[in-house]
């Protein structure tokens, strides 16, 4: 297997990287700078690409390092107050009654796999992600997109392990609720 990275590879993955960077840092200009750095690093380091990972995974890994550098430079260890704020913003109290039962019954999603190949579904997913707090979104993406462990995420963002797992719980529950209302409910009505 002859692994090579070409400029057209980079161009192809740029929109994805930019989208990902914006989700991570929240500011478009910063995200564009970071993606530019990734492109430069990728051209320089193309020889180090083993071909074992896909090009996109490799580029995403470089981006994640750049995002981490950026965070360190900006001195953005997430303060306890900011953690509390995110926890408040992502609250799921409204989803449950006082006794802990569901305020509205979760519905059955029929054939959800069919949605995975639908472009409009990834738009819906992204819109739902956008409704999480910035921190909640970062934690969720580091976990689900990058596959980092809870320990790694805590270290990366300076969170407590408890806050990390609570943010993940809230993020997941909010995403499932948002997808149910914004995608699956509508889709089932159309049938």
């Amino acid at each position: 297997l002859n692994a090579k990275i070409t400029p057209s590879d980079l161009a192809e993955h740029r929109p994805y990287l930019l989208k990902y960077a914006v989700l991570q840092v929240g500011q478009r200009e910063v995200a564009e700078d970071l993606v530019q750095e990734v492109m430069l690093a990728a051209m320089k380091g193309a020889a180090g690409f083993s071909g074992r990972a896909s090009v996109r995974t490799w580029l995403t890994a470089i981006l994640l390092n750049k995002v981490a550098d950026h965070r360190r430079q900006a001195g953005r260890e997430v303060s306890l107050e900011a953690q509390q704020e995110a926890l408040g913003a992502d609250s799921i109290e409204a989803m449950f009654r006082a006794n802990g039962s569901y305020a509205s019954m979760p519905q059955e999603w029929r054939n959800p796999e069919e949605s995975l190949t639908d472009k409009r579904f990834s738009d819906a997913l992204e819109a739902c992600l956008g409704r999480l707090s910035e921190l909640g979104r970062q934690v969720f993406l580091l976990r689900e997109l990058m596959g980092l462990s809870i320990e790694e995420i805590c270290k990366e963002l300076g969170l407590t392990a408890t806050n990390c797992s609570v943010l993940l719980h809230r993020g997941r529950m909010r995403l499932r609720g948002c997808l149910e209302d914004g995608w699956f409910a509508k889709r089932q009505k159309q049938r």
Binding site: V55, G100, S115, L116, H169
Partner: protein, 61 residues
């Protein structure tokens, strides 16, 4: 008894760490009786699948 809210937290935690024996037992007992939580269980698994596909690119040879 665990509430659905408690169970949803365990369902989320289970995606990040191994649950303890008692947690697993109580979770299973609840899921047997609870349609809502069984749905949430499948939906969280689906969410994970959706995002694993997000990065897994169309590998070009």
């Amino acid at each position: 008894m665990l509430s659905c809210k408690d169970v949803s937290k365990l369902l989320s935690d289970r995606l990040d760490r191994q649950l303890g024996l008692m947690e697993r037992v109580r979770l299973r007992m609840h899921l047997v009786m609870c349609t809502g939580c069984s749905r949430v269980e499948r939906q969280l698994a689906f969410l994970r699948e959706a995002f694993s596909g997000f990065v897994k690119p169309t590998d070009r040879e």
